[in-house]
């Protein structure tokens, strides 16, 4: 019985030897990327003209990402963002959205500031 089970494992591993592996290489080819679902929460985008300056987003943001600027608009520091999407939800005018961009790696810290 035990030998049979080892045989089963052997059979399955040998079978997977001739099948396509389930792992995917990281983004090497644009077409081979794993598709992202619709609700994916990625990097924030901000529509400044739609913003009415209620600053509710600042009060709910858990990471301290959002600060107010002098003209009573929001400014985002994505390096602190935890991608919870609470600011998107709370915004009454839909000025904040989440894109499907998940790579927030950069050589320049200022590249992560959205104003």
């Amino acid at each position: 019985m035990r030998a049979l089970r080892v045989g089963k494992m052997l059979r399955d591993t040998l079978r997977s030897l001739f099948r396509r592996p389930v792992t995917v290489e990281y983004m090497t080819k644009p077409g081979s990327m794993v598709p992202l679902p619709e609700r994916f929460r990625g990097k924030l985008t901000y529509d400044k003209s739609a913003c009415i300056g209620c600053l509710l987003c600042i009060r709910v943001c858990p990471g301290g990402v959002i600060t107010s600027t002098e003209e009573r608009k929001a400014s985002f520091n994505i390096s602190r963002c935890i991608f919870c999407g609470q600011c998107v939800e709370i915004c009454p005018k839909g000025a904040i959205k989440m894109s499907s961009q998940f790579e927030v790696v950069t050589y320049d810290k200022n590249g992560l500031l959205i104003k």
Partner: protein, 411 residues
Amino acid sequence: MVVKRSTERTEKEVEYTRLRIPFGPVHPALKEPVLLRISVRGEEIIDVDMTLGHVHRGIESLAEGRNLIQTLYLIERICGICSHSHTTCFIQALEEIGSIIPSERALYLRTLIFEMERIHSHLLLLGVMAYEIGFDTLFMFTWHVREKILDLFEKITGNRIHHAMNTIGGVRWDLTSQMAGEVKAYMREIEKSTKYIHSAFTDGTVEKRICNLGVLDYNDAIKLCVVGPTARGSGVNIDVRKDHPYAAYDELKGDFSVITRKDGDVYARTEVRIFEVFESINIIKAILDRLPNGSIRPEENVFRIMKRIPEGEAVSLVEAPRGELLYFVKTDGKGGLIRLKVRTPTFSNLLSLKRMLVGCEIADIPVIVASIDPCLSCTNRVTIINQEKGKSKVIDMDSLRRMVRRKWMRR
């Protein structure tokens, strides 16, 4: 004199043959840091000492300076594996204080994510178990199955790990009918794969490594107050889902049973987890069949709801994948917190490790430690820092009790 000398000599001999091995805080078998100081003679373990506190993050203190919505996302990050359990527990306490009643559909969706999280957590542990005994192939296969659940999470909630599903008075993301179909299809696949994993765990070499190891009998389990699958593996029939039903479990009571095993060894605990995956699949099927219609959250702005929560305190319980999770929440009535106390399941389970480990071999340490599914990031909680000397000291349950006793005696 002679007698004394001879005892001294034997003590010396004991000292000489005893080898002290530090197991952790950084060790390939540990996913999170804990330090076990292990004394061995040859391969046999003769004593275990435990030190916690390497990943103390001061979350409870952080929470006290934030408002409730911010705290919600903060405590989601207590644990990467059972994040939904933590938020559900917190939200339940808030809803009790504010007497907010979420809609039926919201409760069902909460339960759905909860059970999916249980499957994902148990599969993760099964994979880790296989890895600890050197069975890398089973580890890879198990985590391949788990990947499907993570994809589902990403589809439903938008993130693989931190779902951000809960909000005060409901849930944030609805389940579309297309998603329900996908969940159903995935559940069938996962059921099949889990059966396969179960058969792999009864394989000869695997059985040799995990049977009759780290035995924790019924009485010890009761005495050490272990919870969750660790307790159920020792034959203790406790499950918050049955004993104090929350969310939609009251209506789903008939759709699942509590799995218990009598042996109390590593294999029993592993088997409890495997069968709990099947039970979770049953619950998810029942949820999908009976999902009520309606809104998933109050119309009102979550910020205003938060402001309306009065001053008060509440205790909330959920059955996280690792066992009973307890929250004590005290609000200040202005949208903030006065006190948050988290009692995670690993905190209850960790002390039982000593009982399990003594008498086993070095080779069994990773297997036994993994069998209680330790989630140490959740556990490290109390740190005392002496600012003058710059020293920090972590207090575990035992020393806390000792300190309290000393204080009481002095009085």
